[in-house]
């Protein structure tokens, strides 16, 4: 009996979709349920079940309304009017109003989300209890507006709990209060968190289940087995080791799916170090790498070779004709010789300090391959694979690497804000993770980014974006080698109706179980 209850599965009298859902994630337990600014996949998963955004970004690159019933952009593209949903209440019973939205945009979004159209923010005013006008100094593109309303951690926070506090250290982050389908119930640290149905949720009939349990499982191999025993209903963010995926795919009780948005993983070059500061050396190293090999062996064929900062999965901007770095050791050899590093008998061309960020096993394996590929070229390479904490510190605080294999360096939708944060001069911020690790700075590119931010014409935006991509590929400060779509494992009895681009960070009010 106890076993039957393990995976949820209890049906109330009358049947239907009553019961609980046990979910897990490939990320470790977060430090807090909701982290202002995002804080990575851990808090991104738990926070998104409780807090809601104004809109949702869909798989087909459209936006649909959530807390904003509708929004409209003025003809001059300098202001946006938001019409908020009525009869929405916070989990503590207080009504949701335009006050919350005005405060959130000013006190949360503006300081936490740089390189977005908020750089041009002129003012935010409430026009009534459910109306808000956001004004900008410069014209803002339609897509950027939608994206601002729907991106990752751009939730609306309850003003009455956050106003006047230090957002990052506010204890409410550990027990978030939102408007979403799931109410935070309890967090047993080191084990799991429980969320219960929000009985007054604004979508009638949602959530379709009574309880959501998020469990953290430290060991990936036993986590994979827990799907087979039925202890877990659904897992997001690569919950199983890739070697186990084929077995799980063959299991008739389980279904494995892939999010469209493949995570870019590739080479980060420290542009302030003497040898790799030369773009010719960077290009040579890129030609020395067989991306197909990495995709096939390290990622068991679940990853595919990347083309550049505009990911191949990017349906808005990807251009298959973009220049690439094909695997060509002979060309790499010639480029290195031209750069002043000829192959010398019995001695190395130069020494290379290679770092592979240690938060996934695959990064370490790719690092081992890269070391071999570089050594075949006569480069003395030392490989380090530090743990997560030290990898982040080496990459984003100490800049202690010549070349690093890590994630970042591409976008699967709009270039704003990701590309300026990773490739722009404004992205060089010591201590901030997933920014410009290469410390690459190019005023020409910065100017193009600035142009894209305010270019409202879609065709011209696309041209500018491709122009930026070409410059980035030419200078090669950070170049993705592979795109790795994250997988989701779920029981076949679990149904997801949502069309959200990221299932993992959707609110999950519509998940049902049969």
């Amino acid at each position: 009996m106890a076993l039957a209850a393990c995976g949820g599965g209890e049906k109330a009298a009358g049947g239907g979709n009553v019961g609980s859902l046990t979910a897990t994630t490939g990320y470790p337990e977060p430090h807090t349920m909701f982290a202002p600014g995002g804080g990575g996949g851990g808090p991104g998963f738990t926070g998104s079940k409780v807090l809601e955004r104004l809109a949702r970004y869909n798989r087909d690159q459209t936006f649909s309304p959530v807390l904003a019933e509708s929004w409209s952009i003025a003809p001059d593209h300098r202001s946006v009017t938001l019409n908020l949903r009525s009869n929405v209440t916070w989990h503590d019973g207080k009504p949701f109003t335009s006050e919350d939205v005005v405060w959130t945009i000013k006190a949360y979004w503006k300081p936490f989300f740089p390189q977005t159209i908020l750089d041009f923010l002129a003012g935010v005013e409430a026009t009534g209890p459910l109306g808000v006008v956001v004004r900008f100094d410069r014209p803002v593109p339609e897509f950027s507006v939608g994206y601002l309303l729907s991106d990752g951690a751009n939730y609306i926070l309850p003003k009455h709990l956050y106003a006047g506090t230090d957002l990052l250290l506010n204890p409410v982050n550990n027990a978030p209060v939102g408007t979403g389908p799931w109410k935070f119930s309890q967090w047993v640290r080191g084990s799991h968190a429980e969320f219960v149905k929000n009985p007054t949720y604004w979508i009638p009939g949602q959530p379709k289940l009574d309880k959501l349990i998020v469990r953290w499982w430290r060991e990936p191999a036993s986590r994979a087995a827990a799907f087979e025993t039925g202890q877990l209903d659904i897992g997001v963010h690569n919950p199983a080791p890739l070697g186990d995926l084929k077995r799980l795919q063959a299991n008739p009780q389980l279904s494995v799916s892939f999010e469209d948005q493949g995570a870019p993983l590739g080479l980060h070059f420290n542009t302030r170090n003497p040898v790799v500061s030369d773009p010719r050396v960077r290009r040579a190293l890129l030609h020395a790498v067989d991306r197909d090999f990495i995709s096939r062996t390290v990622y068991y064929g679940y990853a595919k070779p990347a083309a550049g900062p505009i990911l191949t999965s990017n349906r808005l901007y990807f251009d298959p004709d973009i220049p690439k770095y094909p695997f060509d050791p002979a060309l790499a050899d010639r480029l290195l010789t031209e750069a002043g590093y000829p192959r010398r008998a019995g001695a190395e061309r130069f020494k290379l300090n290679l770092l592979a960020s240690g938060w996934s096993e695959e990064n370490g394996k790719s690092g081992a391959y890269l070391k071999q590929a570089f050594e075949d070229l006569g480069i003395a390479t030392t490989l380090r694979v530090p743990d997560r904490a030290n990898s982040l510190k080496a990459l984003y605080t100490d800049y202690d690497f010549d070349v690093a294999y890590s994630q970042g360096g591409g976008t699967y939708n709009d270039p704003i804000p990701d590309l300026p944060l990773v490739f722009g001069t404004a992205g060089i911020k010591k201590g901030l993770i997933f920014r410009n690790s290469a410390r690459y700075s190019n005023p020409e590119l910065d100017a193009i980014f600035d142009q894209i931010k305010q270019e409202v014409d879609p065709a011209r935006r696309k041209a500018e974006t491709l122009n930026a991509a070409r410059i980035i590929l030419r200078d090669a400060p950070i170049v993705p080698l592979v795109e790795w779509p994250t997988h989701i494992i779920q029981k076949t009895s679990v149904k997801i109706a949502s069309n959200a681009a990221s299932i993992a960070t959707d609110s999950w009010g519509d998940i049902s179980k049969s």
Binding site: A5, C6, N174, R189, W217, K429
Partner: protein
């Protein structure tokens, strides 16, 4: 080792354990209490000081500070905020001052506050300790019972096929990494047969009342305890076998046989009882190994114990928590060894008379 064990210990009075002639006079009780106190003062305190000091400096020499990790996780880049956190956690002081402060706090039973767990370190440890103790004690029992039984069997016919098979099995279990054994058990009993749950200590979200709750924990306990126990049992097998064979050659065994006792009676009453001493020695030593081994087993089985707590703390560079867990673990191991010393005296009264 043997020399240390023959020192008089506060518990080494055979009367205390045999109980037959024990008279509870006030002077006698006072005497025992004084000896316990003396031992704590001369042995346990200096040892704890050494452990605390070495752990403190070791963890602070590891790269990546707690504030750095916290700020990268929380996306804090504001130097003013980082400075404030550094001061809040006392990390701006020279290391030796931090060390003195830490000692001072520990003297007041204050292990500090864990930012990661969002509660005092002591509270978090006490919260996780029962889970680990249940797992350890069960695991040790599995190891002891299976190992000793196999050892007795193997020693009954040295160099027979049975002996070889058992020894081979023992070597295999000992050589197999703990996590691998755990995963194999998960695959067999959890996935293929579907008999047992493979992770956590309780059914999350379940409510079965008291009896049902105990059964629920027991069901979750089987696989991790067996994984932990089988790995350890090989040691008891080897020690028991060797001690049995050695004791079997003693004169009193010949006497017992000459008396006409059955082989079974000789083995259990004369040989096994004398072979117990090395087994208990190993038990004391292994206790520490089991404690550290629980980190791996707990990670594989998602067991919410001290091992998981320590693992999470190391990953997050949660210094107060890491130190707290290590200090408390050391204390548990030391106390267990005190008890083992007492067991010695009970098993072999000659040690007490030394």
């Amino acid at each position: 080792m043997a020399g240390k064990r023959t020192l008089p210990t506060p518990f080494s009075d055979p009367l205390r354990f045999e109980g037959a002639t024990r008279t509870s006079t006030a002077s006698r009780g006072l005497n025992v209490a004084r000896r316990v106190g003396l031992r704590l003062l001369t042995h346990v305190l200096p040892l704890m000081l050494v452990i605390i000091t070495s752990t403190f400096f070791l963890i602070h020499s590891a790269p990546g500070s707690f504030v750095e990790i916290m700020s990268s996780e929380m996306q804090i880049s504001d130097q003013a905020m980082i400075d404030r956190l550094t001061v809040t956690y006392g990390l701006d002081q020279p290391l030796w001052i931090q060390w003195l402060r830490y000692l001072q706090a520990i003297a007041q039973f204050d292990l500090g506050f864990s930012y990661r767990q969002n509660m005092p370190v002591l509270e978090a440890i006490l919260h996780h300790l029962p889970a680990t103790l249940i797992l350890m004690v069960t695991g040790l029992l599995v190891a002891l019972i299976s190992g000793v039984a196999a050892g007795v069997l193997a020693a009954s016919r040295p160099n027979s096929t049975l002996d070889r098979v058992l020894s081979l099995a023992g070597v295999f279990l000992f050589a197999a990494p703990g996590f691998w054994l755990g995963i194999m058990l998960i695959v067999l009993f959890g996935v293929v047969l579907g008999w047992l749950p493979i992770g956590d200590m309780r059914t999350i979200g379940g409510d079965f009342g008291f009896v049902g709750g105990v059964l629920d924990v027991a069901k979750h306990l089987i696989l991790p305890a067996v994984a932990m126990g089988l790995h350890q049992s090989a040691i008891y097998l080897r020690v028991t076998r060797a001690a049995m064979i050695e004791a079997a050659a003693a004169d009193y065994v010949k006497t017992a046989r000459a008396k006409g006792l059955s082989e079974q009676a000789v083995a259990l009453r004369h040989v096994f009882r004398n072979a117990l001493l090395p087994i208990v020695t190993v038990l004391g030593l292994q206790f520490a190994t089991v404690f550290s081994g629980s980190v791996v087993v707990e990670a594989v089985f998602n067991w919410p114990g001290i091992g998981s707590l320590l693992y999470d703390a190391v990953v997050a560079r949660d210094y107060p928590m890491v130190l707290g867990v290590i200090i408390l673990s050391a204390l548990v191991v030391i106390l267990v060894n005190l008890v083992i010393d007492a067991l010695y005296a009970w098993l072999d009264p000659r040690i007490a008379l030394d």
